[in-house]
Amino acid sequence: MEKILTDRMRINIGPQHPSTHGVMRMIVDLDGETVENVETVIGYLHRGMEKMAETSTYIQYLPIVDRIDYLSGFFCSYAYVNGIELLMDIEISEKSKYIRTITMELNRMASHLLWLGCFMMDLGASSPFFYTFIEREKILDIFENLTGNRMMYNYYTFGGVKRDIDKENLYAIKKFSDEFVFALKDLEELINYNPIFISRTKNLGILEKECAYAYSITGVNLRASGIKKDLRKDKPYLIYENIEFNVPISENKDVQARYILRIKELKESNKIVQQCIDWLLTNLNNKNIITDVKPLTLKPEGIAISEVESSRGLMQCIIYADGTLNPYRIKWRTPSFYNVQIINEISKGYLLSDLIAIFGSLDIIMPEVDR
């Protein structure tokens, strides 16, 4: 039966839409219900982060760095701070390394939990959204009494960490990570073997290896296509060498694979957090969390490329420093900027509701795309 020719309908899933996380406009050419072409219009949240770097000194730029990816603020500040430390050859102490790792892993869990809630809301199930947010609130409470703010931490400085983790915080984290295992199990039972969920996400939005390489996709979307690439394993920074964790990989490159991988990553991060707690609990007494660097009169010189495996992929902060007080140029390589480009490739031929599911599974948030 040859295809019935229906006229194309151009629908734009506008900037203000419940399922585009943030503000992004997708101009979709629909043939009946199947998607023909998706053109993404971005730039609705461009705040000019890179220009601000040129007008502010190194220490002034530190609080702004959290806003680049507000779901994983610690990763951005680590990328920036590590870049400066590379340029100035500052050596950070063992304890601050552990504190940085534990906060980053908790932040990764919080960002994956929020993604899980919004992804299920896109598919239509409203209750997982609330369960994931209950868990996320616990992590945010821990961050609040550790760094003072729920989402914008400004906790790292050049050469270490601003405040020390005291006993209550550590026990709070320990309690959370023990309970989290059971909470995640309940969530999985609700979602994993749900026939409707499986039929909605099975072999949908296939991302081939060549396409992933061509668009330099990084993070979970890449690992869902079978390529084992995780910065924490390839170039172990901080203390990832002496922490044993494995990087989950799946071969069937579809939306469900990305979902499963993110759930596994949640478990892995939980394991890392537990190992960090044990180390931190043993040496509570050593207090040197910051090396004395005069941040106000910092004058580094040279080019530094500092990388970090953020919750969405490889995040790079490229700093051109020319020995004056202000950075000459800072370029942020954010993973979502590249994940956005493949929507057109992988969502051809699927239905409109699948397009929403595919877009949700890529875990894209707009401040990273627009900087």
């Binding site: 971005i42 590379l86 390489y213 390529i227 170039k235 490229i318 140029r329 370029k331």
Partner: protein
């Protein structure tokens, strides 16, 4: 963990193709102090990689470029390349298997007052090595050939550089502004762009 320091990887490349070495301008040369503890073991890893490079050197393609050695950390190599043959070098680096840089991480553009400079950061998973190719474009005729057909993620990247710096890319599929509204005048990230400061 990667810092720009000095190592000469392309030594054997220099013997194969007549490559001229140019010194990088004073401003960006990094202080070459000796490696601290963390980077020492990095050095040995790179030593092993060199051997991988030696056997694969084939001289089929005629590579005419004055790659300029910069003092770079073991993991990353900075080459300064002329503007005309950027496409040829990138295609060569991507497809030849002795380098196999198959991923363009990002394109960093920087306004160095006397000229604009784009750095293509390439990454090869096979040899776990990064390489940055730097190209200078003078401000008057700011044009360069597009790379979006070799690396498809350069499409949006080049549109961003056009939007923020004003560099036109020849035969780029659709060169439009992405970040700023269409009727915005000027290119914000240029050094001579002044933000209207509120009093």
């Amino acid at each position: 963990m990667i810092k720009i320091r000095e190592v000469d990887l392309f030594e054997n490349l220099k013997r194969k193709f007549d490559i001229r070495i140019e010194n990088c301008p004073r401003m960006f040369l990094d202080k070459g102090n000796e490696l601290n503890s963390v980077q020492k073991d990095m050095k040995c890893i790179v030593k092993r990689e060199y051997s991988a490079f030696d056997e694969h050197l084939t001289d089929d393609t005629e590579l005419k470029c004055d790659t300029e050695l910069n003092h770079i950390k073991p993991d990353i190599y900075l080459l300064r390349v002329k503007k005309e043959d950027i496409r040829q070098i990138l295609r060569y680096l991507k497809n030849s298997e002795e380098y196999f840089f198959e991923r363009l991480d990002c394109m960093v553009c920087c306004d160095r007052k006397k000229d604009l400079e784009i750095m293509y950061l390439l990454q090869s998973d096979k040899y776990n090595v990064k390489c940055g190719i730097r190209v200078e474009i003078d401000k008057k005729e700011n044009q360069i050939a597009t790379v979006s057909d070799i690396f498809s993620n350069a499409n949006l990247e080049e549109r961003e550089i056009y939007d923020l710096f004003g560099i036109k890319f020849i035969n780029h599929p659709d060169l439009k502004r992405i970040f700023m509204p269409e009727d915005f005048v000027g290119h914000p990230l240029r050094k001579d762009f002044i933000i209207q400061r509120l009093n």
